[in-house]
């Protein structure tokens, strides 16, 4: 018996854009009369993809929106047929492109478990055997005989995921289903996925959540415009993806006016006397904002984010002892970072301002519009013997006695 779970050879998938017209009888009759040139534009969602997945591997598939990730999953799970190529699958497949497929609002939780379970490929017997476990995992046992239309969206998702989590296929294909539910439930789901992966099952996982991909997957495929651009270990592939997709963006300006009572108009990052951002010296962030209504207290935050969009640290005017109210008008601020702080890795910035004014909540943020990857120059990082690890170079006071 071979160890290959999935083998894909030269798979392509073509869609024809602008098929709406052809979708009607008139379009079809018209198509008979007109030349073929009048037909819609062709679009290759996947182009000549070949790869093998061994049994027990957990594979992440990453790429920008429209890179072909979902199409790949659809082709793999037999929802749509490839235009070219051949796929060989060894083992029972379950695909989870959405949680709660086929859920009917009029039916009770109990009935929907059976419905959804059989849709996902379980037999009624299997569902029955796992019923208690599923209900337990979902935590909606009190409402199991209530129609799901009365459920909160959180309960609905939990029940739906609970069914999916109890599938026992040899190959599991999952699309971004973790992007639902509250943080605690997401954690539970990730844990369950990890269990699945550890039992030696083959998993193909598409996600935008790089942290989850890195945690779960041993190997990754990077798709770009329908091509398999790169495959390798998760960390390799992720960094390749992040580097290719996020170019330096030192300046941002608001393109239209805002209804907000207070909002940012422009942001810029720079270092004195430098064209590019480097790892040495002080990084400066200069931003302008407009206040349309008097603010009783200014709440302003600047955060430095990593490539995954997670906050590394945040800073506020209070750092310099500033605490004041603001009249209507235009303002500018300059924030200076400590010297030699940055690594040669991708960062982005987030700016937030908010206030309570007479019961109404003012809030505005600009997220990840500014991105930069400092160029490595002489700084703390390479001045240290053996280099430094981490994502920030923080200078601390040392004493050796």
């Amino acid at each position: 018996m071979s160890d290959v779970a999935i083998k894909i050879e030269g798979v392509s998938k073509k869609y024809t854009i602008g098929k709406q017209k052809e979708n009607s009888l008139r379009g079809s009759f018209g198509g008979l009369l007109k030349s073929a040139a009048a037909k819609g534009e062709e679009f290759w969602a996947l182009k000549d993809i070949s790869f093998e997945v061994n049994k027990g591997e957990v594979i992440g598939v990453i790429g920008k929106n429209g890179a072909g990730k979902s199409t790949l999953l659809k082709v793999l799970s037999q929802i749509t047929k490839p235009t070219e190529g051949r796929i060989e699958i060894n083992g029972r497949v379950a695909s989870l492109l959405e949680v709660g497929t086929g859920f009917h609002p009029e039916l009770t939780g109990r009935e929907n478990i059976y419905l959804n379970g059989t849709i996902l490929g379980m037999s009624r017997k299997e569902v029955k055997a796992k019923f208690d476990e599923i209900v337990d995992f979902s935590g909606v046992d009190k409402f199991i005989d209530t129609p799901v239309k009365h459920y909160s969206s959180g309960m609905y998702v939990r029940l739906a995921f609970a069914v999916a989590a109890h599938l026992e296929p040899e190959i599991l294909i999952i699309d971004e289903v973790l992007a639902v539910g509250d943080a605690e439930f997401q954690k539970k789901c990730l844990g369950k996925m990890k269990d699945v992966a550890e039992t030696g099952r083959t998993v193909i996982f598409v996600s935008h959540n790089m942290a989850a991909v890195e945690k779960l997957c041993s190997k990754c495929f990077l798709l770009n415009h329908g091509n398999l651009e790169f495959s390798g270990t998760s960390s390799e592939t992720i960094s390749k993806y992040l580097n290719s997709s996020k170019l330096n963006q030192y300046f941002w300006e608001r393109s239209q006016s805002s209804d907000n009572k207070a909002y940012f108009t422009s942001i810029k990052v720079y270092q004195d006397g430098q064209l590019d951002i480097t790892t040495s010296g002080k990084l400066k962030v200069e931003f302008k904002y407009q206040i349309q209504e008097k603010l009783s207290s200014l709440n302003l935050h600047l955060a430095l984010l990593d490539n995954y969009g997670q906050v590394i640290f945040s800073s506020a005017p209070e750092d310099s002892g500033i605490k004041k109210s603001l009249e209507i008008g235009n303002y500018a601020s300059i924030v200076e970072f400590p010297e030699d702080l940055l690594f040669p890795i991708g960062y982005s910035l987030k700016l937030i301002l908010w206030d309570h004014v007479a019961g109404s909540f003012i809030h505005h943020d600009v997220n990840e519009k500014i991105r930069f990857k400092p160029i490595e120059t002489q700084s703390l990082i390479n001045k240290t013997s053996g280099g430094r690890s981490g994502i920030l170079a923080v200078k601390c006071n040392w004493k050796i006695e």
Binding site: S24, L25, I79, P82, E88, E98
Partner: protein, 275 residues
Amino acid sequence: MSNKKIIDASSKKVFPDLKEIFRYKDLFYTLTWRDFRVRYAQTTIGFLWAILQPVVTLLILTLVFGRFVGVETKVPHILFTVAGMSIWSYFSYVMINSGSSIIASQGMVKKIYFPRLIIPMSKAIVGFIDFGISLLIMVVLMIYFGISPSSNIWYAPLFIIMGIFAALGVGIWLSALTVRYRDFQHVVPFMVQIGLYITPIAYPAEFAVQKLPDWAATIYYLNPMAGVVQGFRWSMFGSEAPGDLIYVSIGIIVLIFISGMAYFSKVEDEMSDYV
């Protein structure tokens, strides 16, 4: 290796994989049961709708054809009509609902694989609600008029099976066509409306055969339900035995069913791209 699956872009399916459909029997069962459960959910008079509709149709047909037109039948006109209407209402339910079934389950079709044929097929079972209710009305009327079924009743299952295949054949065609051409959503109600008149439900089929030239009578039986309705009623009450023209209806049912399955297989792989 029982679980090896090969998807090859160059291979074309010509006929549905019946073995695979059988493997998905639990899903078939669940979908059918779901339709049963939700059919009259949230309506105030619920199941009464299932009785009210055929009763009203029956009364109107009897009033128009029995009273106004004065169609002569061996058994009371209302009884004559209910026999034809029972199998017709089964047919029209299955045709309407399986026709739109793939579109109605597009959420599932886009997100998961299963043999798509299960969807229209499950409607053929759900349609038995309507059939059963009409039969019940018929039994009540038979008791009221003191009429017992004819000795031909053993043929009834044969005509019911013909009805099922006719309904499924048309339903499968329509479900596949509606995915590609939404126009068929408007065609189906029209077909039902026409069918109610061109099928010998409220009048005997002989009327049509006698009044039409031979070639036109053959065309009349191209309506698969012409033979089914006539035959089913004959098996109940014994009047107007179906002539040779019923073979036209049988032939067309076989043709529609097999070609429907073939067309469905041809477009099945790409349904998720169109819905």
